[in-house]
Amino acid sequence: MQTHTETSTDLLGLAGDLVQRMQRRGVDQAEAIVVESKDFSATVRLGEVEALEEATSRGLGLRAFRNGSVATSSSSDFSEDAIERLIDRLLEMLAVGDADPANGLPEADLLGPCSASVDSYDPSLASLSAVEKIERARRAEAAGLSSDPRIQNSEGAGWSDSIARVALANSLSFAAEKQSSSVSLSLSLVGEDQGVKQSDFWYNTHRFLKEIQAPEEIGRRAAERTAQKFGARKVKTQQAPLLLDPLVARRFAQMVFGAASASAIYRQASFLTQRMGQRIAAECFSLIDDATLAGAPGSRSFDGEGVTSRPLSIVENGKLCANPSDAYSARRLQQKSSGHAARGLRGQPGVAPSNLMIAPGKSSVEQLIGSVKSGLYLTQLFGMGYNSVTGDLSQGAAGFWIENGALAYPVQEITVAGNLLQMLLSIEAVASELDWRLGATAAPALLLGPVTIGGE
């Protein structure tokens, strides 16, 4: 019986046992994942603790193959009879699944933790008390609310952290456990100037506590970003160059990863289909995913199917050179898994990045702004208007207008429309700063050629 406050379950033993139980029931291949996590979050608003959440939770996920078909099941109930019922259901589902020769676990020689020591767990998090965590959120908010008289309101400062243990075992004798941590501190502020409200936020998130900026810095950035929005206006409908802020460039990196992934390519559901080895971006653009990067927030020694982590160049100097994959999508392209399977408790694994980055260039953001005569510094894209099959993009946008090499005024309530492939090919320059504190995707600012801006 496990207790609420200590993690003492033998996850690896349980995962191995689940695999054996599935095998005894006559499946061809089996895989089990067992997860235990401890989560804490606190929201501080206007100096008061508004919400506290705390939990220890567990779950298990099963995947089995038989006669070429696949099924998955998950449960938060670890009792004997619940597991037995879960396996019964798994067998029923295997019976209705159709055979597909690409189904199956990764090849045995791909499995195992990588040799590099990949550190994904920060033990110092466990020793930080709830009172200290709340205090950091409070300090971030206080700093944010004291920096500009027009900013008097807040949606709250949030602290959240999680410590998780994951055990993975399969019928090819793979069995390994990894422990990971994550921590984030965020603040969202609301200000008012001349009767118009504006809000903005700043945050940091990482595996390691020491990487998170001081609360006062988070507060200052959130206030600065909010204050910069006062006086925002529309611009005329026109074509103009775009300078992507790192926050937006990160989204671009993720879009390219998704379009290049084997799961999109084998379906021919990507604007990058049939473009392997071809130029799909300007020469100054390279995209790399590296799960073995020391000290980075998305590092892991093996992927969601147990495949050894290794770095992968996806786009090199503008040329598409790899399709990140999991075992299934790799087989569909006559390849081997690149180690990019991501697996939650539920459902099938998917293809996802670990530490994804656009390789930094030589210019500072200031130099890039200085090089634009008239254009848009894009800090926010919102809405759902991106189609990964066609690459067409039409989204709501906000940012700053650049005039004669300087930020002139904030801009809101406009749209940006173009095609991602054309946008990638039009990249003129890549900035040099890379920030891993915004999540496991890091991208420098990117300067693009003209796109259509919808406004007045």
């Binding site: 008061e48 919400a51 998955t72 259901r89 919102f382 749209t415 919808g454 406004g455």
Partner: protein
């Protein structure tokens, strides 16, 4: 005085009452325990075969302590008296600086409505029945046009069993079904690829496919949209007159006014609708209502996740702001009655004000006449989704089927675009409202603060005199 039987809880009532007392041991206004069991099944179908099947069981309980506008939550997936007690102690930390005042109340059953009768219960149906629906959908999409090269289908159903007890002794339970069929299609013409998608379902069983929309109709619609996009041309960019077709365009209300009228944002002064009750925030043609009371609709609920009955909440009446959607905390702070909009994604989440089914009442205009009235503009019919910045009120929504209007007639289909506007500004520019109120049937899911919720929406044909269209053509 209710004499209804007390619904059964996963743990004996005395264990629950002991946990509630522990939850309030440091003080607090009230505490509640939310038990949930969620059993789900999903089948995906692609390349003319069952690609994968999945099944999930999740079970747990969340103990919440409320003090003023502050909340503590601790949750567990181990349903024992000890585990519940530990959660209660964790959750009580929110009230650490106040005084305990635990009173016991006799248990009382809270009546709930019955809005989702299910005849062909997915959980009683075998997997083969589901496969047959998917095969029918797949054949229909492929038969629609030879240029359909790929069809992806997913059939998901879940059953949530919820039971609840709070420190006032109130006990209720609900069983919430949900069934959704999603279809997406890719059309190819040479190297040109285009996509289309549709979905259908609700809190209903498989009888939905016989009574409302068959698998053939849903998948056929995805195929139609993909083929239509092959002919589509780039949309104009800039301000235009836009006619929004019925049903799906309800996403406009959801983004332009819905989120901004959730009471938590308003009591905190975060929304651009804060402190504007009684003011004009839309054209006088607009009356907007949120109601979780329709039978079998995706956003409908028998009872909200705090035990309040959903009603028909008038948000905007004749253009005037009348009220907000609230949860228990907001209702108490705003000194108004609960509207039954307190919803939580699961036992592991805190409730907050959320929409149910949000719609605009029908107007007087003939929908055909509305289109004829536009010299040059855009007619938008199907939508992909939207987002809003509730503070300033700027919102976007993406259009997946639209046509150019020239001299009062629909002409060329247009490529997918985004429309952007400011909530109150756009609502004020609604200058014609049709007689043809329809509700969407799609699988809309609304996200807020990291929680996802099924919602419904409805709207008649409306004309917006000017809104910015995010096309690629200058």
């Amino acid at each position: 005085m209710s004499s209804a039987a007390i619904p059964e809880l996963p743990l004996p009532p005395e264990d629950c009452l002991r946990a509630l007392a522990a939850a309030l041991s440091s003080g607090g206004d009230f505490a509640d325990i939310y038990f949930e069991e969620n059993i789900s099944t999903g089948l995906s179908y692609e390349e003319e075969r069952v690609k994968s099947a999945s099944h999930g069981v999740s079970r747990g309980a969340g103990v919440r302590v409320v003090i003023g506008d502050r909340q503590g939550l601790a949750y567990t997936d181990i349903l024992t008296a000890e585990s519940l007690q530990r959660c209660a102690e964790s959750a009580s930390a929110i009230a650490r600086d106040s005084r305990a005042q635990v009173q016991t109340h006799p248990l009382q059953a809270q009546p709930t409505a019955a809005r989702y009768q299910v005849e062909q219960n997915p959980s009683d149906s075998d997997l083969q029945t589901r496969v047959a629906f998917l095969q029918r959908a797949d054949r229909a999409a492929r038969a629609f046009d030879s240029r359909i090269v790929r069809v992806q289908l997913g059939l998901a159903d879940e059953l949530r069993r919820i039971s609840y007890i709070n420190s006032d002794g109130l006990v209720w339970s609900d069983v919430q079904p949900m069934m959704t069929l999603r279809a997406s299609a890719i059309a190819a013409d040479g190297s040109e690829l285009r996509t289309g998608r549709d979905s259908g379902g609700g809190r209903i069983g498989f009888e939905y496919f016989e009574r409302q929309r068959s698998p053939e109709v849903i998948a056929g619609e995805a195929a139609r949209l993909a083929i239509l996009q092959l002919e589509a041309r780039p949309a104009p960019a800039g301000p235009m007159t836009v006619v929004l077709g019925p049903a799906d365009s309800g996403v406009l209300l959801h983004e332009a006014v819905g989120h901004g009228l959730e009471a938590d944002f308003n009591r905190k002064g975060l929304s651009n609708y804060s402190n504007r009750i009684g003011q004009s925030v839309a054209s006088s043609l607009c009356t907007v209502v949120d109601a979780g009371t329709f039978a079998n609709m995706r956003g409908s609920i028998n009872i909200d996740d705090e035990g309040n009955a959903p009603g028909q909440t008038t948000l905007i009446e004749g253009g005037v702001l009348r009220g907000y959607m609230n949860d228990s905390i907001s209702a108490r702070i705003l000194k108004t009655k609960a509207t039954g909009n307190g919803r939580r994604e699961s036992y592991a989440h805190l409730p907050m004000p959320r929409m149910t089914n949000t719609y605009m009442l029908a107007g007087q205009s003939d929908p055909e006449e509305i289109i004829r009235s536009v010299k040059r503009g855009v007619y938008a019919r199907r939508f992909g989704g939207g987002q809003v910045d509730i503070t300033k009120g700027d919102f976007v929504f993406s259009v997946e089927e639209s046509y150019l209007i020239e001299d009062g007639k629909l002409t060329a289909p247009l490529k997918g675009v985004t429309l952007i506007g400011n909530g109150p500004e756009v609502m004020t520019r609604i200058d014609m409202v049709g007689r043809d109120l329809k509700f969407t049937d799609g699988g809309w899911t609304c996200g807020k603060n990291g929680q996802s919720m099924p919602v419904g929406m409805g709207i008649p044909t409306v004309r917006v005199s000017e809104i910015t269209v995010g096309g690629q053509e200058r």
